[in-house]
């Protein structure tokens, strides 16, 4: 009896040992569920990569964008960082401060590096590439050409036009606007940049100075937004309940004349085959201000603790091949980051032309480690303004003071 127990244990140990010995190298990639990107894309990419690279397993950890930052931090803090991850490039300094990023450049093939537009390397810190651009694009204004007739040239003109078409009784709103705190502060950025402002002043050496959301441009932007919400009521009611996906749904379902979002908005509109006419245009500036949109870049980073850096680099070579990048870009609606696809006919449509046209005047998110908390502080004060808890100036003064105090303690 005893012998047979020992025999069984030996067999089990051998089987487990062999299973581990034969275990393929596994590359774990944290993958953003971009709007428009279908789950099938990730599944197909995984299958194709594994077929082309026998002995290497690929695990794609799909995560919604709104949960992405927190989930990644949870993985890292738990000592379970993936090998590769998509990140918002603005998080790169925060991750560098944690000391978890690997300079990715040394692992990339020359052909891959040469194929990326150098202007998009926002993840290059002090001359070293930590983030390989994965997506980049300016934000756009989507407008109902069958309702508005013409594209508004300025914010003020937009407001006048929206007042005419808003009809809450028929659930038709002028502009669908995000008001619930979201991982990004995009809505305020659109209006702030359109009013010639930015989140921070700049010091002479180019570093960030004091928070500037309480200057004329910052207060003007929030006043305008607040008037749209509470005075002219051209937004959907209860904006503080709406996240980006819900706002996009409002436009897609034909309940709004305007929405401002990324290139993925076009993908969603095309995928759902909406029955109305729509078009895209640059986000209009305030009167007398230069046109300026938000440019958002996301990057692929590699983690120091990865045991499969060579395999991870192989995956990047695979993913950045024209075949897979073209499908990816088409689905997420961003212009291509690879030079080899820049002249592809798919990207010669008005949506891409407007995105490219806006690049010159566009501004990125601030690149600072404490940005997620600054982002939250501004959001809280915007929500408080929409809810009537604070006056616009008070809200922006509070946000700026809290942000300056936060950065002073660093």
């Amino acid at each position: 009896m005893k012998k047979s127990i020992w025999g069984i244990m030996l067999i089990v140990t051998l089987v487990i040992g062999l299973a581990f010995a034969a275990h393929a190298a596994k590359v774990r990639v944290m993958w953003a569920e971009y709007d428009g990107l279908t789950p099938e894309y990730a599944t197909n990419l995984q299958a194709a990569f594994e077929k082309a690279n026998p002995g290497t397993e690929l695990e794609i950890i799909s995560t919604p964008w709104n949960e992405f930052h927190d989930r990644l931090v949870t993985f890292i803090a738990g000592g379970n960082a993936p090998d590769l991850s998509v990140i918002g490039t603005r998080w790169i300094l925060e991750l560098m401060e944690m000391g978890v990023l690997e300079p990715i450049e040394q692992h990339l093939s020359k052909s891959l590096l040469d194929n990326i537009d150098p202007a998009l390397f926002e993840g290059k810190i002090k001359g070293v590439v930590y983030g390989l651009p994965v997506a980049a694009g300016t934000r756009l204004m989507y407008w109902r050409s069958d309702v508005l007739g013409k594209v508004p040239e300025t914010m003020q003109e937009m407001l006048t036009m929206l007042q005419k078409v808003t009809n809450p009784e028929k659930k038709f709103y002028g502009i669908a606007m995000t008001g619930q705190k979201y991982v990004e502060l995009t809505e305020y950025a659109y209006f702030l940049f359109a009013n010639g402002g930015y989140f921070f002043d700049f010091n002479k050496d180019g570093s960030y100075g004091k928070c500037a959301v309480n200057n004329e441009a910052g207060i003007g932007a929030l006043s305008f937004m607040n008037d749209m919400v509470n005075k002219y009521k051209v937004t959907q009611p209860g904006v503080t309940a709406y996240k980006r996906d819900e706002v996009q749904n409002l436009f897609i379902s034909g309940n709004a004349a305007i929405m401002m979002t990324g290139g993925f908005g076009a993908s969603l509109l095309n995928q759902t085959k909406v029955p109305f006419k729509w078009d895209v245009a640059p986000i209009p500036p305030f009167e007398g201000k230069p046109q300026s949109s938000l440019i958002v870049t996301d990057a692929m980073v590699m983690f120091k603790d990865s045991k499969v850096k060579a395999e991870a680099a192989k995956f990047l070579d695979f993913f950045y091949s024209d075949e897979w990048r073209l499908q990816f870009d088409k689905l997420v609606g961003f212009p291509p980051v690879t030079k080899s696809l820049a002249s592809n006919e798919f990207f010669q449509t008005p949506v891409y032309k407007v995105m490219v046209q806006q690049i010159a005047g566009a501004k990125p998110w601030p690149l600072m480690a404490e940005w997620p908390e600054c982002n939250d502080l501004i959001w809280d004060n915007i929500e408080a303004t929409f809810l009537g808890q604070k006056e616009v100036k008070q809200a922006m003064d509070d946000a700026a003071a809290a942000i300056d105090a936060l950065r002073a303690t660093k």
Partner: protein, 296 residues
Amino acid sequence: MMYKKGKIWTTESRLAYLLLLPAAVFLIVFMFYPIVFVILMSFFKVNKLGNLVGFFGTGNFESLLKLPEFGSVIVRSCLWTALAVAAKTAIGLVIALLLNVEFKGRKLARTLIIIPWASSIPISAMLWQWTYNNDFGLLNYTLRFLGFNPPVWLAFPRSAFFANMWVDIWCGIPFMALVFLAGLQAIPQELYEAAEVDGATSLFKFRFVTLPLLGGVLTVATLLSILWTFNDFNVIYILTKGGPANSTDILITYIYKYAFQYIKFGPSAAMAVITFVILMVVSIFYARNYFREGVQ
């Protein structure tokens, strides 16, 4: 007092220790170690990877006092728990009393009541998020159809707070109802018959027979409900993420925000310790009451 070796280390007791070992290891690794480590974190400076880098004394706790909204978050957490547990207890008791009465379809009703408890809380919360949607949600559609002018539930502080709370209550009612039902069925029928002979009305029977004999079950069920409700992260995180303007933040969502959004593990560990202390005090108070009643 000295134990003789033979009494605690017999062949029989060795087997008992061996059988207890997996559970003991599990408890140490997954319960005691995290608790002790979080307590340590609250008294240390912690880097962004969650490692202890230097003793900080009460610094993390002091930093919480400087947060203007921290006091209101604690008050809101207590209010959230008190109201939600009271509602779950009251509704659960009524449902249990109804399900304790013989009627056709009682088995089906008992099965149906379990559905919110059986479905996962995140899925229930997402379902309610769609239900609350102002444009396409079932709730406002129905209310408008009936001639009401409903609010955008998740847009305003008060309505968002109660909308969140209702989902928590909805998820928690089945547990309370089932536990109370089990308690009701354990009450001897003879007591009701004796009360009836004495001419007691239904209300008197409930007050002087049902409630006292349900006391132990009530205590345990409400204590568990307090612990779960105070730490109910899923509902708020999915519905409002603590908004609008932080008006639905309770301690548990606040801890998450500090730990995983701002990557400030020290202050968030201090908040976790405060939560632990609050719940420990409540548990001890309940346990003392429970055992005192048991002794009586």
